[in-house]
């Protein structure tokens, strides 16, 4: 095994773990606690294994009671280390055989194995070097996983997660037991590279039947999702096939990347599970159309149309007062300015403190706001996994309460375009007054003739233009000017008022939409972004999986 390959495998594992950790930090509040716990367990386990000796390869013999794990163990190490017997279950605690002491003891502590035997195998006598175990092997003989002793099952299920390489010792009687296949093997689907099946006690099967039995075992394994597993037939008692098992373990014990590979497949499993729970890889952000619709509904419920109407009316009233015929325009003052009633359309000294005095929202209007926000959030979170939906709803609900005040303040700050009067009003006003003065002067002038006649004064004839006396002309023109000016101004005012209305509506909608964006749309998008980056992390981690 080349050093480079080990380093590469280890780096890949690092990247995957970093991905998961980052993803978990992002998404922890939104995931099922069990999934988080499982991921944390695997990461903690792989971290602690990686701190241990990387020179050792831990191989465990798993299997049912009576399948001959201990006998196989003894046959493999060549000494009677483990107790064998006919009383079931025989082995009650894990026994370990080690060939190299350095670093092994903390590893064994971590595995919680007390019975340890240091082997001094004579190396390479007659046998070739290949036949003897590498010093890094750490062979474990485990208790059974199917007897009436429940504490044995616990040891088995714990060590299934901890050893680097699993050897399952089966026997012709028990190879199809549900407790083995459903209880263990089917959950080791991702560990295929680290699994070896040994069919022990093969001597008890007649020569003719062996092929059939192994074929049927292969079938049972493929039902659990384990295909192409190496299956070795052996008999620990007669010694048949033990050499092959030994040879396999020799290769295994030389593969120092095995522990990393094992950890990687654990991590892969976690990633695959997380990926399964990510229903979609990328959720779409709420469409612009939905957002505009939401803002429109909220603005409308907050009376944007009335305010705009009021702007129109207010402008008309002010315009009429400022440009109307002075003799009648004072009447306008008796009418209420609707904007003033709402405390709008004034310039505020401190815009931050501005508040409107519009009436409270009616039930129908608050209902329509709630409803539109609800549908917006439902629409946006439609694709999310179930566990991600509720937190978003809570976040948004918390924001809804603040929405009304925010919008009110925003509306109060919105320039409505009626704070200042139009530039041409004074001009018109002056002209109106001039015209009125002309009428007045002309009338006085005209009135002066009969008065002077009464008192027998002689007044020079009024100069004439085009045959009409000047004062008469003044009165006529003045009156005509006033009326025409009044009428045309009111016509222009109407047009301008419409424009002002439209502009005010747009301004209000813009400031409402700012508040809505901040309070509702942004948190929603942020949540969806979080999900997307989480899903992307998981997906990229999954891509690195084998």
């Amino acid at each position: 095994m080349s050093e480079r390959k080990i380093i590469r495998a280890s780096n890949g594992l690092n990247e995957q773990i970093n991905c998961i950790v980052e993803a978990m930090q992002l998404a922890e509040p939104f995931l099922e606690p069990t999934a988080v716990d499982q991921a944390a367990n695997v990461i903690a386990r792989s971290n602690s294994r990686r701190q241990m000796s990387a020179e050792h390869v831990v191989v465990g013999l798993f299997g049912a009671t009576g399948s001959g794990k201990s006998t196989m163990f003894n046959a493999l190490v060549g000494q009677e280390l483990a107790t064998t017997g006919v009383i079931r279950p025989t082995t009650t605690q894990t026994v370990a055989a080690i060939w190299e002491q350095d670093g092994a003891s903390e590893l064994l502590d971590w595995l919680e194995v007390d019975a340890r035997h240091l082997m001094h195998e004579p190396r390479a006598q007659n046998d070739s070097y290949k036949r003897s175990f590498d010093s890094g092997l750490l062979l474990l003989d485990l208790p059974d996983m199917d007897s009436t002793a429940a504490d044995h099952h616990e040891i088995s299920s714990r060590l299934v997660g901890q050893v680097d390489y699993l050897v399952w010792v089966l026997d012709p009687q028990k190879y199809a037991d549900a407790s083995i296949h459903h209880g263990y093997l089917s959950s080791l689907r991702t560990q295929q590279g680290n699994l070896l099946i040994v069919l022990n006690q093969i001597d008890r099967v007649a020569e003719d039947d062996r092929k059939l039995v192994i074929e049927s075992l292969r079938q049972a394994l493929s039902l659990s999702g384990l295909e192409n597993l190496p299956i070795l037939g052996a008999s620990a008692i007669t010694g048949e096939g033990v050499a092959e098992v030994r040879a396999k373990l020799v290769t295994v014990s030389k593969n120092k990347a095995l522990s990393t590979r094992r950890l990687r497949s654990d991590v892969d499993q976690v990633i695959l599970k997380l990926q399964e729970e990510c229903v979609v890889e990328k959720v779409d952000l709420p469409s612009k159309l939905d957002q505009v619709e939401l803002e429109r509904v909220i603005a409308k419920a907050h009376g944007s149309e009335y305010i705009a109407d009021a702007v129109e009316t207010s402008y008309l009233l002010r315009g009429a007062a400022r440009t109307g015929w002075p003799l009648t325009s004072w009447l306008v003052r008796f009418r209420n300015d609707p904007l003033k009633r709402m405390n709008l359309g004034r310039q505020h000294e401190d815009p931050e403190l501005a508040l409107t005095s519009r009436p409270e929202l009616s039930v129908a209007e608050s209902a329509s706001i709630d409803h539109s926000i609800n549908s917006f959030v439902s629409e946006a979170s439609d694709q999310l996994p179930e566990s991600w939906k509720e937190p978003l709803r809570q976040t948004v609900n918390a924001r809804i309460a603040l929405l009304d005040d925010g919008i009110d303040a925003a509306i109060a700050r919105t320039p409505l375009g009626v704070e200042r009067s139009s530039w041409w009003w004074p001009v018109v006003k002056t002209t109106q007054w001039v015209a009125l003065l002309a009428v007045l002067a002309g009338s006085l002038w005209l009135a002066a003739y009969p008065v002077a006649g009464y008192f027998q004064f002689e007044l020079p004839d009024a100069p004439r233009a085009e045959g009409i006396a000047l004062p008469t002309l003044m009165v006529l023109i003045g009156l005509l000017l006033g009326v025409i000016l009044g009428l045309s101004c009111s016509f222009i005012n109407r047009i301008v008022a419409k424009l002002k209305r439209r502009k005010a509506l747009r301004n209000i909608e813009r400031s409402v939409s700012q508040v809505v964006r901040q309070a509702i749309v942004d948190p929603v998008e942020q949540h969806l972004d979080t999900y997307n980056s989480y899903a992307a992390l998981i997906a990229s981690a999954a891509k690195k999986a084998d």
């Binding site: 049912a64 079931r88 190879y175 929202l361 039930v363 709630d370």
Partner: protein, 588 residues
């Protein structure tokens, strides 16, 4: 065959009393069977309904497979079921007892998939009918031929055989612990139908956890179990047998019924040598000849089976009641939330808050801009309205008030009902049962046509009001006055009066809305008289409440119907009654 009177003589039960209670028990068992068959449980993740369903079918089968036939005839041949782990040699043992290959044996696990029933040809009538194990199809065919073709289907291979002693039948069951789920289920069913177990295990297997679960249950039910320890290696007997005997007596099983078969080569017929199986064979023959002993065993097993079934049924009842309780909790959640919705809708009518905003503005248009007076001008006014609205493109002012009221009501209905639906679903999601039920609900909740439903409700209410005004203004003088506003105009005024009459408007609003509503009220009073207006307003209000109530309850039906489809209070009641009588009988 033996006579019926012979049956009860030895079983220690008074024959007449037994006959009476027996028919009683049989009818009750039949009813119990029917009730259990109809029972349904909502499957959810947490309650492990697989287990409950298994328990239910186990109880059902126990009744039809064993209890009913055994109570009907205590003297019928004993059914001896040979059960045990896969690869323990059940089939080989049966074959060896009969000295013939009747059941396929082999090295590939699991071997036996179709159970083989061997009996004396004289006992044929007992087994050929569906007296016992009615669910299993009877297959005939000697030996091992064509077994693979029927494969794992639920069937029973009938094998009449001279070597089976008269009075017992031997059934070779599938294994209890292989990867084949069908095998395990069938083995359980067969063992439950047995009078006597021959439980085969091996030196390798005798401490497996799974078989001991079954043996513990057998011990609790007081079933006679003959354990055969197969494949004992030479010399191991001395150590294993005491260990196994200790385990057996711990579980209340008779250790003296232990038979040991040594690991040995099979003879050329693939059978265990006759010397080895001799003790077991002669024990069986002796049992077959001793009819009193047989009945004693049958009665003992029957008693245990009855007890077990009663316990199983009690457990099922407990589960059912638990489900009923949970369902009624969910039902409460619905009722609470939707009545809250109704209350909130009512409240919004009450406190006049509906009158704020749009409706208020439109009403002010109606009253303030002189539209009211214009309306009074009658026909001319209306013509001018039409012309005006034709040119301005806006509907007449009465319509606008009406529309404002409609959209207001509509919005309140929709929002409250949608919110109630969401809340109910969120609270359902907190319970596993609720989650399971949610999956079965129709996809769109609230109903897709809620919008139309709400509009319909409002339209119906408006029609109610119009009808009421027409009926109220039936006399000529009033008709003339109503004509001045148009029926619609009066209806609009009445609607506003309805919302304003209990109005809790404050400050400025009261001056505006309340004040203008007073104008409306005065107008109405001028037409109908003071009492009539008060009566009409409260009637209109009641009508609205009724429509709202209908709409809300229609929306909650989606949920209540789902619950109603799962609630089975009558079954629960009847079941507990039957189980009580069984318990009382046992106590006696």
């Amino acid at each position: 065959m033996e006579s019926n009177s012979d049956l009860t003589k030895h079983s220690g039960i008074d024959s007449t009393a037994h006959a009476g209670t027996a028919t009683d028990t049989v009818t009750q068992l039949h009813e119990l069977h029917d009730l259990l068959a109809k029972l349904s449980f909502v499957s959810d993740e947490s309650r492990f309904t697989d287990g409950i369903d298994q328990l239910r079918s186990k109880a059902l089968r126990q009744i039809s497979d064993y209890l009913l036939p055994r109570i009907a005839n205590l003297g019928a041949p004993l059914l001896v079921v040979v059960g045990g782990s896969t690869g323990s040699g059940k089939s080989t043992l049966v074959n060896s007892l009969l000295r013939e290959q009747v059941s396929l044996s082999g090295a590939v696990r699991p071997t036996t998939r179709t159970p083989v029933l061997a009996f004396n040809p004289a006992d044929q009538p007992y087994f050929q009918s569906d007296r016992i194990l009615p669910e299993l199809k009877r297959l005939s065919g000697k030996g091992t031929n064509s077994l693979t073709s029927v494969a794992s289907g639920k069937a029973l291979l009938m094998t009449p055989h001279e070597r089976v002693p008269n009075g017992i039948a031997i059934l070779d069951a599938p294994d209890i612990d292989s990867v084949s789920d069908d095998n395990r289920a069938l083995a359980g069913q067969l063992l439950n139908a047995a009078d006597l177990w021959i439980f085969v295990t091996t030196a390798n297997r005798y401490a497996d956890a799974l078989p001991w679960d079954l043996l513990t249950e057998a011990g609790a039910r007081n079933i006679t179990v003959c354990v055969v320890l197969n494949r004992v290696p030479a010399g191991a007997e001395r150590v294993i047998v005491p260990d196994l005997q200790r385990l057996l007596s711990e579980k209340n099983l008779d250790p003296s019924l232990l038979h040991v078969l040594h690991e040995a080569q099979l003879d050329d017929q693939k059978l265990i040598t006759s010397e080895q199986v001799q003790p077991l064979a002669s024990w069986l023959t002796a049992l077959a000849e001793d009819s009193s002993k047989r009945q004693e065993i049958a009665a003992q097993t029957l008693e245990g089976a009855l007890r077990r079934t009663t316990a199983d049924v009690s457990e099922l009842i407990a589960e059912l009641q638990e489900q009923e309780v949970q369902l009624s909790e969910l039902q409460h959640l619905i009722e609470d939330r939707f009545s809250q919705a109704t209350a909130r809708i009512n409240e919004s009518f009450n406190d006049g808050s509906l009158l704020r905003g749009e409706i208020l503005a439109r009403w002010q248009d109606f009253v303030g801009a002189g539209e009211l007076l214009r309306g009074m001008e009658g026909a001319i006014g209306r013509v001018r309205d039409r012309i005006g609205s034709f040119f301005s493109g806006r509907p007449p002012v009465t319509h606008r008030v009406e529309q404002a009221i409609e959209t207001g009501l509509h919005m309140v209905f929709i929002a409250e009902i949608t919110k109630a639906c969401h809340d109910v679903e969120r609270s359902w999601k907190n319970t596993p049962l609720g989650q399971a039920l949610l999956v079965q609900l129709p996809v769109s909740r609230p109903a897709a046509d809620l919008n139309e439903q709400a509009s319909d409700a409002i339209r119906l209410w408006q029609r109610d009001i119009l009808d009421m005004i027409r009926a109220e203004g039936a006399n000529k003088r009033k008709t003339a006055r109503i004509a001045a506003f148009g029926v619609n105009g009066v209806a609009v005024i009445l609607m506003v009066v309805v919302f304003a009459s209990t109005a809790g408007l404050t400050g400025l609003e009261l001056g505006i809305a309340g004040g203008s509503a007073v104008v409306g009220q005065k107008l109405l009073e001028a037409i109908f008289g003071e009492d009539a207006v008060r009566r009409m307003a409260s009637m209109a209000r009641k009508m609205l409440d009724k429509r709202a109530q209908e709409l809300v309850s229609k929306s909650s039906e989606i949920y209540t119907q789902e619950i109603a489809s799962h609630a089975q209070p009558k079954t629960a009641e009847r079941l507990s009654k039957i189980s009580e009588t069984f318990n009382a009988k046992r106590a006696r």
